[in-house]
Symmetry: C2
Amino acid sequence: MTNHSYVPFSFEDAAGMVEEGLSVLKLPAAPAKLYDPIRYVLSGGGKRIRPSLVLAACSLFSDKPRQAMPAALAVEIFHNFTLVHDDIMDHAPVRRNKPTVHRKWNRNIAILSGDVMSVLAYHLLSGVPSRRLTQVLRIFNKTAMEVCEGQQMDMDFENAREVSEEEYIRMISLKTGSLLAASLQMGAVLGGSTASDADALHACGLNLGISFQLRDDWLDVFGDPEKFGKRTGGDILSDKKTFLLIKAMELARGSVREELYSLIGNKRVPDKEKVGRMKDIYLQLNIGQITRDKMAVYYRKASASLEQVNVTEQRKRILKKFAGELMERDQ
Amino acid sequence: MTNHSYVPFSFEDAAGMVEEGLSVLKLPAAPAKLYDPIRYVLSGGGKRIRPSLVLAACSLFSDKPRQAMPAALAVEIFHNFTLVHDDIMDHAPVRRNKPTVHRKWNRNIAILSGDVMSVLAYHLLSGVPSRRLTQVLRIFNKTAMEVCEGQQMDMDFENAREVSEEEYIRMISLKTGSLLAASLQMGAVLGGSTASDADALHACGLNLGISFQLRDDWLDVFGDPEKFGKRTGGDILSDKKTFLLIKAMELARGSVREELYSLIGNKRVPDKEKVGRMKDIYLQLNIGQITRDKMAVYYRKASASLEQVNVTEQRKRILKKFAGELMERDQ
């Protein structure tokens, strides 16, 4: 791998490649109720962050990032599978501005189509070169278990009276961080990286993922609804224990605490009022800034891990740019 | 592989090995709601037919059937995963004389524990020797897709006015036959068989699986409830389009046809009466014998495929005995 041969590979290149890879994916026509929902979900957009990260990580070590496509598509399909099942569990009516699978079809179809998507992910993964399959499969399985563990913790939190910041970070590490970490790690392995570089990228992805989820929590309250693509305040209305709420529960004292606890779980307050009053509490407690500071902590950890990766600055640019955009994203 | 070194390996040996393998499986303690249901399901008995077939097929070609254990356990866990999700979809309250996961815990837990079980299956599969992993993973993925397709067809049949015998056989080939076929094929591959022997065993398993499901349909009506372990007539009461019902719908004429169609979907007739009247129709139309004849057809196909496998008669004995018992099983 010589430097002069390097053709810059952008995140947009990666996302385009993923989109193309998904579009040429051959799914059987029948049974229609099984495969139509999969086509529907996979054509439904999304930012394709995870598969692009697979290709991007591969491009750090190889001039042929395309060789990581089977793993990239596997990750994207696995991610979408988890969304289909999570949406059933959360009774979510809408995803990416479209009805969720269990609403558009029904619950049984959403369960079974999801199951097939997870198999489809492994089917794509089986296209990884044989000499690297065992290693990649192990990384994939580990993250797949972790994502499920994170989802279970998230559901457990619903019924928990209090959740500590530490528990919350652990949950999002599993539910969100793990798959970003594995995406970078698999891409690196497929590009022929050393184990230590692949591990450093795993750590980078894990911290980026935590940062990413904190941004998501922040956007739900402080984001621009026009850009965010979904109604802000959704987490507030569902009393979801986000980083913001957990932090507010930790910090609120006196009358602010009373106001906070009177709002949590309160379904009688009109939606708009509840969101407004909760946002006021967050502003009084400086929760927005605290959240952004926390994001920065994990962003710095991610950057430090990326520094350890033994490739040229030029090669790292794609991930640095991505990480920077992640910090500022408004959707 | 010399003949004199062969130590007979029985199906009971295989089942014992599987039971032991499952018992030493290490699952994380937390989150408890995720892993407790898995422990519950895997310790719940079952005949361990599929994993035993993996080991049995391996024993045809190798004196170390234990080397197929990762694949055997993967198959058993995958099978149990499909049962957990099928039971949600079918609203089944009981499985193997115990409450189903979605009844004992709840639906969300059953969805997510099932998801983890499918990942766990792939985790075990990753223990297959690297040089054979690509091939085994492809066989596994193919059957996993087929099992889901079969389940979808089965659900589609619920709302179908009529189902042809051909469609029904296709459905059970996918839902039941495919996994038995893949079990034998993977065992063979892991034992070092030729591709043609592995393919012959796939065909053998597929036909055994069809035969197995026809026996299940027959047992629901004509089995001894004491031995069958579940109430007979369950399929009749749920108006399930089994081979028996499909055949009866095809053959009934005149007043028998009227009686048959007056019973299908009829929830006002008391349970015991409905089962009795339906059984009378089956007896008049000779459906029991027709079903057993059909079983015999697929049993003969399975035997013919087994004949093609190029190993000694002594080695084949384990599968021949198993196939014979399958034909006569009363549970």
